[in-house]
C-alpha cells in the first residue's frame, strides 16, 4: 500500500472524522463532565458533584417515567413482536403474487414520523367522535365514552395501541427476511417425519430466525427506552394526566430544555445509557444461554 493511497483513504474519512470529533466525541466527553454540574441555560454552570444523580434517583417522577417506559418496552417485546412474527409467517409462502403488495401496505405506517402519528392518533382517540371509540362501539356496543388520553389508566394502553399500528409491519419486514433462512428441504423433511405445525415452528423455524429475532428484540428494546416524540405529540407536550405517559426521555427533555438544567439532563442521559447497555447485554446473555442449555 503506497503512501498516496493511505493519504487518500484518510482524506475520504476526513469529513466524518471532523464532524464526529466536534459533534460526537467532544460532546460525549462533555456529557460526562456536565452530569456533575448544575447549569441554568447554556452559559452558567457550577460544580455540584453527585448531586444531580442523587436528585434524579430520589425523584418519584423519574421512577414514574422509568416504570412507564419499562411497561412500554415490555409490551413492545411480548405483544408487538409476536404479532409481527405471526404476520410474517402468514405472508411467508413459497409463491404468492400478493406478498409484495401486502408487505407494502403493512409497512406503510413506518413512513409516517412519530410526531405525525401522535397528531393523527390524538384525534382518533377522542371520546364520542374519535374513530377508535366509534369502532369499539360498532363491534361491541361499548366504549364510546372512553377518554383514552385524559384517563390515567388508559394513557399507556393508548400509547401501546398506537405503537402497534406504527411498528408491527416494520418489524415484520425483518422477520420476513429472517424466514428466507428457513430451509425448504428441512421443512419438507419435518413434514414427512410427521411433525405438526407447532413442532415445525419450534424445531425448524425458530433456530433459523434466531439471529434476526435477537436483532429485532434488542433494537425494539433500545427504541422503546428512547420513546419520546409519540407521547409528546399524543399528549400535547405534557406527561399526560397524572404523568401517566411520562417517559425517561421526556423527563430528560423537561429538565434540560424546559427548565434549562442541562446538568440534570446529562445525568439522566447517562442513567438511560447504562440501563439500555445493561438490558442489551442481558438479552445477548440469555440468548446464548438458550443456545447451549
Amino acid at each position: 500500500m503506497n503512501r498516496r493511497r493511505v493519504v487518500s483513504a484518510w482524506l475520504f474519512l476526513s469529513p466524518f472524522l471532523l464532524v464526529s470529533g466536534v459533534f460526537f466525541i467532544y460532546p460525549f466527553l462533555w456529557a460526562t463532565i456536565l452530569a456533575f454540574y448544575q447549569t441554568s441555560g447554556a452559559l452558567h454552570s457550577v460544580f455540584v458533584g453527585w448531586s444531580n444523580f442523587r436528585f434524579v434517583l430520589g425523584d418519584p417522577e423519574f421512577f414514574r417515567a422509568l416504570r412507564n417506559t419499562t411497561i412500554f418496552a415490555f409490551f413492545s417485546i411480548f405483544l408487538q413482536l409476536p404479532l409481527s412474527l405471526g404476520l410474517a409467517l402468514l405472508l411467508n409462502t413459497r409463491k404468492d403474487r400478493w406478498k409484495g403488495f401486502f408487505r407494502l401496505i403493512l409497512f406503510s405506517p413506518h413512513l409516517v414520523g412519530p410526531i405525525f402519528v401522535g397528531i393523527l392518533f390524538s384525534v382518533l382517540f377522542t371520546a364520542r367522535f374519535g374513530m377508535i371509540n366509534r369502532f369499539l362501539h360498532y363491534i361491541s356496543g361499548h366504549g364510546l365514552d372512553l377518554r383514552w388520553l385524559a384517563d390515567p389508566s388508559l394513557v399507556m394502553p393508548a400509547l401501546i395501541l398506537t405503537s402497534l399500528w406504527m411498528y408491527v409491519g416494520f418489524n415484520m419486514i425483518y422477520f420476513l427476511a429472517g424466514l428466507q433462512n428457513v430451509s425448504d428441504d428441512l421443512m419438507d423433511a419435518a413434514r414427512v417425519d410427521g411433525a405438526g405445525p407447532w413442532q415445525r415452528f419450534i424445531h425448524v423455524i425458530v433456530p433459523a430466525i434466531k439471529p434476526v429475532a435477537l436483532f429485532v428484540v434488542i433494537m425494539s428494546t433500545i427504541g422503546s427506552f428512547q420513546l419520546f416524540e409519540l407521547p409528546y405529540a399524543l399528549l400535547n407536550a405534557t406527561g399526560g394526566p397524572d404523568n401517566a405517559g411520562l417517559t425517561i426521555v421526556m423527563y430528560l427533555y423537561q429538565h434540560a430544555f424546559e427548565s434549562g438544567d442541562l446538568g440534570t439532563g446529562a445525568a439522566v442521559g447517562w442513567i438511560l445509557a447504562l440501563i439500555i447497555f445493561a438490558i442489551s447485554m442481558a438479552q445477548i446473555r440469555i440468548s446464548r444461554g438458550l443456545e447451549s442449555p
Partner: protein
C-alpha cells in the same frame, strides 16, 4: 348491542372456513389459505383505516367533520359536506417576525433540510465506506470499531452538550445547527462499507492502470456499483430527517424557520377547535415520504434483501 355488517362478516368468514374445513378434499389446505388471507386482509384494513380517515377529515367541511366516520354517503356529497375549507385556512398567510408567509414556507424548510442532510450523508458515508472497504491502512480497524461503538450511545445523551456547542458557535436559530452535526452517519458508513466490500479489486486496479485518480475510483467506479444500496440509504436518511422533531424543536426559534413536525405540533394548540386544519397539514406532511417510497420501492426492497442474503 345491535347486529350489524361487521358481525355478519365475522359469521360469513367462520362459515366459509368451516365449510372448507369440513369438505377438506385437500387436507385443509384451501381452508388454511382462506383463513390466512382473511387475517392478512383484516390487518391491512386496520393499517389503512387511519390513512383513509385522515384523507376524509382533510376534505370534509369543518361543520360535518364529526357527523360521518369517514366520507359522507354519496347521496350527501356536495360542497357543503366536502370542500377545501381546511386547506384554505391552513394556507392562509401568517404574520411572523420576518414578514408574512404561507404554509408553503414550512414545506420548503422541511424539504430543504431533508435534501441537504440526505445529500451530505450520502456523500460522506459512501466516501468513508469506500475507504474502510477498499484500503488497508493502520487505524482502519479502530475507525470501524468507533463507528460500531457510537451506534450504541443513545443520541439524547449528547443533546445537552451539543446544545451548548451550538450556543457557543452562535448557530441557535440557524439551519447550520441542523445541517452540520447530521452531515455524517455512522450507520450509513457501516452500510456502504458492507456494500463496497463487494466491489471487485481488479476493477479498481484496471482503472488505476489507466491513470484514474483515487477520487475517480470512488466516484466513477465504486459508487455506481452500489446504486441499490444508495437508493435504500437515501430513503432511510430522508425519512429520518423529514420526521426529525427534537433537534429542530430545540435549535430553531423563529416561526419562519420551523419545519413541518414542529409547526404542526404547535398548530395542535393554535387550531385546537378546528382540528381539520392541522390534520390537513399532517396529510401534506406525510405525502413526500410516501411518494419517495413508491419511487424507490424496488431499490429499497432489493437493498433490504441483499443485506439479508449477505447476513
Amino acid at each position: 348491542m345491535s347486529f350489524n355488517v361487521f358481525h355478519a362478516l365475522l359469521i360469513a368468514v367462520a362459515a366459509v372456513y368451516g365449510a372448507l374445513w369440513f369438505l377438506r378434499s385437500d387436507h385443509g389446505t384451501s381452508a388454511n389459505t382462506f383463513l390466512r388471507y382473511a387475517v392478512i386482509l383484516a390487518a391491512s384494513v386496520l393499517v389503512l383505516a387511519p390513512f383513509a380517515w385522515l384523507v376524509a377529515a382533510t376534505f370534509k367541511d369543518p361543520d360535518v367533520l364529526n357527523e360521518y366516520v369517514f366520507f359522507p354517503p354519496l347521496s350527501e356529497w356536495s360542497s357543503d359536506t366536502l370542500n377545501f375549507k381546511n386547506l384554505r385556512v391552513l394556507f392562509e398567510p401568517r404574520q411572523t417576525s420576518a414578514g408574512t408567509f404561507t404554509f408553503w414556507l414550512f414545506i420548503f424548510n422541511s424539504l430543504f433540510l431533508a435534501c441537504a442532510q440526505t445529500g451530505l450523508q450520502l456523500f460522506t458515508s459512501s466516501m468513508a465506506g469506500f475507504a474502510l472497504a477498499k484500503y488497508s491502512f493502520r487505524g482502519s480497524g479502530l475507525v470501524l470499531g468507533f463507528i460500531l461503538g457510537s451506534m450504541m450511545i443513545p443520541p439524547i445523551l449528547l443533546l445537552a452538550p451539543v446544545y451548548m456547542i451550538i450556543v457557543n458557535l452562535g448557530w441557535i436559530d440557524s439551519f447550520l445547527a441542523l445541517i452540520v452535526p447530521s452531515a455524517v452517519s455512522g450507520y450509513g458508513i457501516f452500510l456502504f462499507r458492507q456494500a463496497m466490500l463487494g466491489v471487485p479489486k481488479e476493477l479498481l486496479e484496471a482503472a488505476r492502470v489507466e491513470g484514474a485518480s483515487e477520487f475517480r475510483l470512488y466516484f466513477s467506479v465504486a459508487l455506481p456499483l452500489v446504486r441499490p444500496m444508495s437508493g435504500a440509504f437515501c430513503l432511510v436518511a430522508f425519512l429520518a430527517s423529514w420526521n426529525n422533531f427534537i433537534a429542530p424543536n430545540v435549535f430553531l426559534h423563529s416561526t419562519h424557520k420551523l419545519t413541518l413536525p414542529v409547526i404542526l405540533q404547535q398548530y395542535m394548540g393554535d387550531y385546537s377547535s378546528q382540528y381539520g386544519v392541522f390534520l390537513a397539514g399532517t396529510l401534506i406532511a406525510i405525502l413526500p415520504p410516501v411518494i419517495l417510497f413508491f419511487l424507490l420501492q424496488r431499490e429499497f426492497i432489493s437493498g433490504l434483501t441483499s443485506g439479508a442474503v449477505k447476513g
